[in-house]
Symmetry: C2
Subunit: 221 residues, 2 copies
Amino acid sequence: MNALNITQSHFNRANKHFVDNGNVYREGDQLFRMGDKLDRIYVVNSGVVKLFTITESGEEHIVRFCMPGDLLGLEALGDGVSKTNTMVLSIANVSTVPLASMMDNDSEYDLGSLMERIANTLNQETEHCMIISQATAGRRVAWFLSQYAEKLARRGLIADNFDMPMTRSEIGLYLGLAVETVSRELAKLCKRGILHKQLKHIEILDFASLKTVAQNTHALH
Amino acid sequence: MNALNITQSHFNRANKHFVDNGNVYREGDQLFRMGDKLDRIYVVNSGVVKLFTITESGEEHIVRFCMPGDLLGLEALGDGVSKTNTMVLSIANVSTVPLASMMDNDSEYDLGSLMERIANTLNQETEHCMIISQATAGRRVAWFLSQYAEKLARRGLIADNFDMPMTRSEIGLYLGLAVETVSRELAKLCKRGILHKQLKHIEILDFASLKTVAQNTHALH
DNA sequence: CGGCTTGTTGACAGTGATCAATTGTTGTGG
DNA sequence: CCACAACAATTGATCACTGTCAACAAGCCG
């Protein structure tokens, strides 16, 4: 954890005169949609929010799942218009930071850390892209689970026994897989004794093996 | 073309005391590699540079192809360490902008436009991700070609008759397809009279149809 | 209880990866 | 300038992964 990797609490400290106390959103609520003009950054304090796009033909693609500490609305920093939709998956508290306040702030700190956050998001998106383009279904699912568990751990939450707020379908839309394939690959991991599942409740029994499956490259090309 | 979408000339104007005249790199040259510490942004003035990663097992994934006006090194803005390799595909002139000069500059302009550029890059990466996760091989190839042509057009270059600097293999590594599939899909587009190819030389005969193929969603899920 | 959404499992088929062979292209050295 | 080597591109044949279709089970909520 380096100094550039600001956390939510850090954010609050640096911007405490800009950040509100947060609003509570329930499952199904939308913070903003494609095409909306955004003049602020959203900070997820608790809960999970899915970021997704809809193609002209109505297909959904999930860009990422935002968890506590994550920022929403970064995609709009280019022209101020959101390229994505948002939907709350698990009851969430979300604060906002007006962009104007960050820009005008004579301290360059805010703008700088915001840029670092975007750069990190870009790197995560690149990894997402790489997994989707090269990995088999089994690897993708294992990668998703291990990544999700690591995110929980990084936030100090229990990482081997948790409830996932998203449906199988949403996992599929994130990984580029059909629902049935997600279901089957999860079943395989259970049979191999790597995890235990009860619908959305996941228990990771063998994290090391899970990571192995996630990284085990299946030579393509 | 909006005001936020800075161009290379714009960049030079705003930073003329920081930007060098550019160095010339030949095919195969590397500007920087994974793990290198970067303290500057690279600006491609001419030529094409591929940005790619190598997994532990030696597989290559191409993140994007950088063309005139594109910036390199954005991925390192998080922690100053490059996450990607670079390789020149077509003889290129590349300038650099020291990060320190952008940060210290009391005019906030530079940092702001840099952020906009990252945000745009993030959006492009999201689209890349979406295409890879949802589109069939034919759509991916058509999307790649139309996107490449549009990039050329946006730079005022001839967009329906050009040489591509990358190999079929590199197109495959960018799109998540095997070389043979790329070759076959290009052949199909030729048979349909949409384009004409002679190795790396491409002539687009029917751009409208090309875009149609690129967008024609093949219902997945 | 009954309807609806979500998840699971099976059968089947299709897209695209892999293997293999051939041709075309580029570059190098005699 | 030609011969040869190395690489890039193409084309064909085969096979496997995973998407699709279908049926069913399991939760969830009115």
